[in-house]
Subunit: 409 residues, 2 copies
């Protein structure tokens, strides 16, 4: 791996994240001079990885030539897991789905075969078209649990007897594999393609079956010493006696999450509360939440009440985040964010009560506009980030055969 090849990857990475860039932009982003940047761009065009897009709009002078990736020269396999389902999709350099995403049932809890099953699904998914599979740069996987990114281990699920998750899958599939926590990947998606773009300090709340957190610090995803940073769901925030799955009491998760919503709806309706929604025996938690979100949007008092209470509690947690991190933006994202603006008022209310005004005034609460694909997009972004990542303070050698670009085949 020569130095120029590394720079070419940097260029591809920048083009992936920005969609299109001029040579001047690229030169600044990769920190190299214009003559070199243009030389490398021409080589990449020769190789068929980059294309000229035509001239962009003038900003007061000569119009710049814009460059972009050849969208279908390289692919990424994006995987989004939760405790029950695993979704897989093949994505191109434009973040388009090359093949439709497929969902498999793959329970993670108490499942010793989970990793093997994941491998089976991935293999089967790729067998459909070996030619396309050969173009895959890497596999990005988002999963719940305590993920140690560096070691490639998940301490909660997908246990391996020896070695790392990455090593196991790389051996089976012959492609670099990168894993991370689901909330971190949602934050990464928001940082690179969503509403947290160009944000230096921001917190992305993943409202889901728990309350996850992805932290953006200095414009990069922050993972902490072991990759466990952002355990928002289990901070001791309440003096209730509700037992949490983690073994403690008083966790934020015991009072606020989509599961709590589902429970409260069931209980409320059984107690005879008046509402426009009806639930059946066969409704999953997912179904119930979707009904609640829709009803709340219609103005259903009962549903709005439940969401408000949960939102207030999330807001109390956010007030701690604001005190500690002084972020520019708090972004409500994840599955629950599809409920929309209902969250904003109760969260702001909690901030008014629990934040020092100067602090809460300094940060804005926003609602994500990404849909449920955020984790997929984050998984793809993880691959692109990691593949061009240059470990600092190390010698300039590169693990042989670890980070192929399509041009090397």
């Amino acid at each position: 791996m020569t130095k120029n090849d590394l720079l070419k990857r940097q260029i591809c990475k920048q083009l992936y994240f920005a969609q299109q860039l001029s040579s001047t932009d690229l030169s600044e982003k990769i920190g190299k001079s214009l003559p070199i940047t243009i030389k490398l761009l021409n080589e990449l065009i020769q190789e068929g990885q980059v294309k000229e897009l035509g001239y962009g709009a003038s900003t007061g002078g000569r119009r710049p030539m814009l460059y972009a990736l050849e969208a279908d020269r390289s692919y990424i396999l994006a995987v989004a897991m939760d405790q029950l389902y695993t979704r897989i999709a093949l994505m191109n350099m434009n973040n388009d789905f090359v093949w439709p995403a497929e969902q498999y049932t793959l329970p993670l809890q108490h499942n010793d075969q989970a990793l093997q099953q994941l491998g089976d699904h991935l293999e089967k998914y790729l067998e459909k078209d070996p030619a396309a599979a050969a173009r895959i740069l890497g596999i990005g996987i988002g999963m719940p649990g305590f993920v140690d990114v560096k070691k490639g281990v998940n301490y909660s699920f997908l246990k391996t007897e020896t070695g790392s998750i990455n090593a196991y899958l790389e051996k089976r599939l012959g492609v670099p594999v990168f894993i991370d926590n689901d909330s971190s990947l949602i934050a990464l998606a928001e940082l690179r393609f969503g509403m947290a773009q160009n944000i230096k300090d921001g917190m992305v709340i993943n409202i889901s079956w728990g309350i996850g957190l992805g932290m953006i610090v200095n414009g990069e995803l922050f993972r902490g010493h072991n990759g466990f940073a952002g355990e928002f769901s289990h901070i001791p925030l309440f003096s209730n006696n509700k037992m949490c799955a983690c073994g403690k009491t008083g966790c934020l998760e015991t009072e606020a999450s989509l599961l709590v919503i589902s429970d409260q709806v069931k209980q409320g309706l059984s107690e005879g509360k008046v509402s426009s929604i009806k639930i059946t025996q066969t409704d999953t938690n997912e179904d119930i939440c979707e009904k609640v979100f829709k009803a709340a949007a219609r103005g259903d008092r009962f549903c709005i009440g439940i969401l408000s209470e949960i939102g207030y509690k999330i807001g109390k947690g956010i007030s701690i985040l604001i005190h500690l991190m002084n972020p520019e933006v708090i972004l409500l994202s994840g599955r629950g964010a599809t409920a929309g603006k209902v969250w904003l008022a109760p969260v702001e209310q909690a901030l008014n009560e629990h934040c020092i005004p100067r602090l809460s005034f300094s940060t804005t609460i926003k609602l994500s506009n990404m849909d449920l694909d955020a984790e997929m997009i984050g998984a793809a972004a993880l691959v692109m980030e990691s593949i061009v990542y240059i470990p600092t303070r190390e010698k300039k050698t590169w693990p042989a055969g670890k980070l192929p670009l399509v041009s090397e085949k």
Copy 2:
């Protein structure tokens, strides 16, 4: 200001923080090649700013020449303020006090003249020896309150009618001025010269009249979007009804701080609790705390009990930090850290109760070995960090006359 001058400052900065370095080390740290580094070093020696220190120990090959700063060629004026007292000291490049530190009474609360008075004290302090004063690179000031470092404003104290604190003092004293929050500077001192050296992710707790926090993220001080990050004292942690100075209730500060210790001692003794310590009407809070620390070290049950209870509550706050930041180290520092090991057991106890084990196991609690001068040293370090700071993404011009080195006089 030429490019080479900037590089020379980088070299001086590195030598300041490391005391001594070889040319190879320096070359790596400033990111320039050896030929250039050596050329610049020779120029710095010519100018009298750097000296050769002789050959260092071999690490298996030819012995390196070591370089160090001329300790007394340049000085820094370090200022540490709290709500009542302001200490000033002139420090050299070895972090030695050139003149003894002096303490002035300067109450910050409800004092419109505070900034002017600070300027008076600084002027008087420097008038003692104009020759030495002429060598000052900059003035570093640590202060309590909400400090916006970029704007040079303190929203709590030292209000200025127009412009920044920095601008006011720079105009009066003719030397660059840098301000920051006291807890941030303690963290900076620990990061550069104390027990947080080479730590990538660490939290420095400033146990004082409040509970301050300086955050180390990615090996740098983290300040947040407006510089307010680390407002640990006012996170809503308790469901008490105690009114806090900030206007809210339930803040950590209402249950844990050196002021609380002082109050509890007074109350306990007045209730007839048995203890070896005695307090008089004239004892300040400072005096009382010192007595408590000494008595606890002797084994006084009453004092140990008070410290344990406070320590447990600080620990509960730390458990939130650990969940969110997954730090490598939590360092107990500041005035209260002089009490020593008494803190460790109750803090660990709180972590056992409020942390997910995998998280608390991943971070170690340490006790600072820096004494009360930490804030001074941090203030000096702030000057050295800031003076060589190169704003990213900006043109390479430098505000004229803003950042003098002695060589330029």
